[in-house]
């Protein structure tokens, strides 16, 4: 009886996941134009979010769906040959341990951040770098992000590993998203789009609940470029003003059938049921850590007063 019920729910889950994947794309390549809610708002809304799941009548706590954008490094690499549930579980435990010591805030490509790293060669033994996040990737403890800034007319990019113990502090000075998931075109853009003052103060957001999307269209320098930007469907770039032959070649080389390729999408993503399980696991711990930090901050303010 139990086996039949389990098989039924499994089949339903499969069908549901299929439709979920069709309806809401879970891959990184698409751009969602809906503003994403922050952790605060998500907390208020869905602390009590519960699923009437189990046969035994126990309610199951489920993390808010925005978690897959806020904490994408908790999802493992989708390549099936290298997946192992036990190893992913142990890695998640280690990630949460590290997060209990250092606050790794929610950020997106396009956010301006400041990272303080222990550096033996610096005069203060700490090096602070401010820059805009142009790309982020990796899964688990290998998660990384790249910050870009222009210092003394020289473009500088630094790749930081999020869970490296040399990192002392990660601050998000401006939390926002851009129209693209990867801002590598800033390397070929005019330098003012990548310049941020090194002593920039953290900006207070007016509307705390929603992460704004900056609809900025960046102007590129004249060619030659590092990549063929006309072939990449970039939303955040001004009209490239190239001769028609570039666009013709781009059309020849394009793969418009990929957006209909379900199996490609499937292989690039973790199924929705697994994502739910992973984030449900992680959700409660992250909430506890956030709570402790708020208390510490409040105590800090009180002590100062």
């Amino acid at each position: 009886m139990l086996r039949r019920a389990v098989l039924q729910t499994f089949r339903q889950g499969l069908a549901q996941s299929f439709f979920k994947r069709n309806a809401v794309s879970l891959s990184e390549t698409t751009v969602t134009h809906q503003p994403i809610e922050t952790s605060d708002e998500a907390d208020e809304k869905s602390v009590s979010k519960q699923k009437p799941g189990d046969e035994s009548g126990n309610t199951v706590v489920v993390a808010p769906p925005e978690f897959r954008f806020m904490y994408p490094e908790f999802l493992p690499d989708p390549a099936m040959e290298r997946r192992n549930r036990l190893k992913e579980k142990l890695e998640r435990i280690d990630m949460l341990q590290r997060r209990s010591v250092v606050e790794i805030p929610e950020f997106y490509t396009g956010s301006v951040m400041a990272v303080t790293v222990a550096d033996a060669n610096s005069p203060n033994k700490f090096a602070r770098f401010v820059g805009i996040c142009i790309q982020r990737g990796g899964s688990g403890l290998r998660a990384w992000f790249i910050l870009r800034n222009v210092v003394d007319k020289q473009g500088v990019e630094i790749l930081y590993e999020m869970y490296c113990p040399l990192i002392q502090k990660i601050e998000v000075l401006r939390l926002e998203r851009r129209l693209d998931e990867s801002l590598l075109y800033l390397r070929d853009a005019l330098p003012e789009y990548s310049t941020f003052p090194l002593d920039m103060e953290p900006e207070r957001r007016l509307n705390n609940s929603v992460v704004p999307i900056n609809p900025l269209k960046v102007k590129l320098r004249p060619r030659p470029w590092l990549e063929r930007w006309e072939r990449q469907n970039l939303q955040g770039v001004e009209d490239l003003n190239l001769p028609q032959r570039f666009y013709d070649k781009a059309e020849k080389v394009a793969k418009p059938w990929e957006k209909y390729d379900l199996m490609l999408q499937y292989r690039k993503t973790i199924p929705a049921e697994e994502q739910e399980k992973i984030f449900a696991d992680v959700h409660s711990q992250l909430q506890q850590q956030e709570f402790k930090r708020k208390i510490r901050r409040r105590r800090g303010i009180d002590n100062e007063q």
Partner: protein, 355 residues
Amino acid sequence: MLSIVFHKRRRLVRRLFFNHEQVRTMSRVKRRTTHPPYWHVLKNNQRQDEKISSDNLRFVREVIQDKYKNKSPIKGSDLDIEKKEWDPKTKRSGVIARNIGVQHMWEKDGKKVVCTVLHVLDNHVIRYVPPEEYAKSIIGAKVFRNRKPLGCLVVGAEAANPDRFTRQYCSLFSEVGLLPKKRLARFIVTPNAVLPPCTPLTAGHFVIGQAVDVYGKTIDYGFQGVVKRWGFKGGPASHGATKFHRRGGTIGTGRDKARVWPGQKMPGHMGSERRFCRGLKIVRINMKYNVIYVKGTVPGPTNSIVQIFDTLLPRRKFTEAPPHPTYFPPEDGTLPQEDIWDSSLHVFGSPSISV
């Protein structure tokens, strides 16, 4: 300064006198087979579409449970410790594990270290073959041709449903009363490190900071060309090269011997070969999940089975007694430390490193 120059000279000398004969003789050795040795018992059941009713299936399952349920694990107090004193020449048993992936960790000075995560499966000792008997077997005779014979412990891992195996295979385990195991391995042991059958082996068998050797079968690349298999340079990609981009080129001189030498490097099957990674350091042991973190990488793809045992490298052997003959959890019910880290590693829950 003098020592560096000396090493350089030695390396040059070694290159000049490369032993071609060794390569030629080893090229005739068969390196892989798809079938097990002929003295092995047939293992897997031929799947037959037997239409068994669900009631009968349930009954079969109950019978299996009854047959295998009364075996209790061997405790430390069951062994007579007087016979089993450790000395530096002792060879302990090894362990069968699964390579579950690679995790990045950091040392206390901030240097990143790539560690392989090895999950020690449910190992049990199946049988002990004493030295005299083992020296008479086919493999034992080869191993101990010119030296004093040692004993052999047969260890099994990953218990499975007896339905999928043949009766002869299950009989290997029935004397011991264990559920048949999917994987078997043999470990050479000295007589003072013998373990009785049904002894469980866990991650606690190893010590933090010790060096281990890991045996595995390398990644199977299939039939590969000469560029990937032997690292040949191939030919130019352009400049008029006609059909010569990834080929081998010449395979002999035409003068000397006037034939292709055996062992000539050519395309062929690459990978799926026995290899040992020696002297890997254990940097972390998780006793709760039976997982070992080893510094470096091991042969084989993720989720493949490997064998781990104490290193043969003479300078990295034990100076103090390890858990001998194996680790047994304390009988007074106190739980051991769940997660043990090497002193060189940065523990994730501890504060950030400041240089």
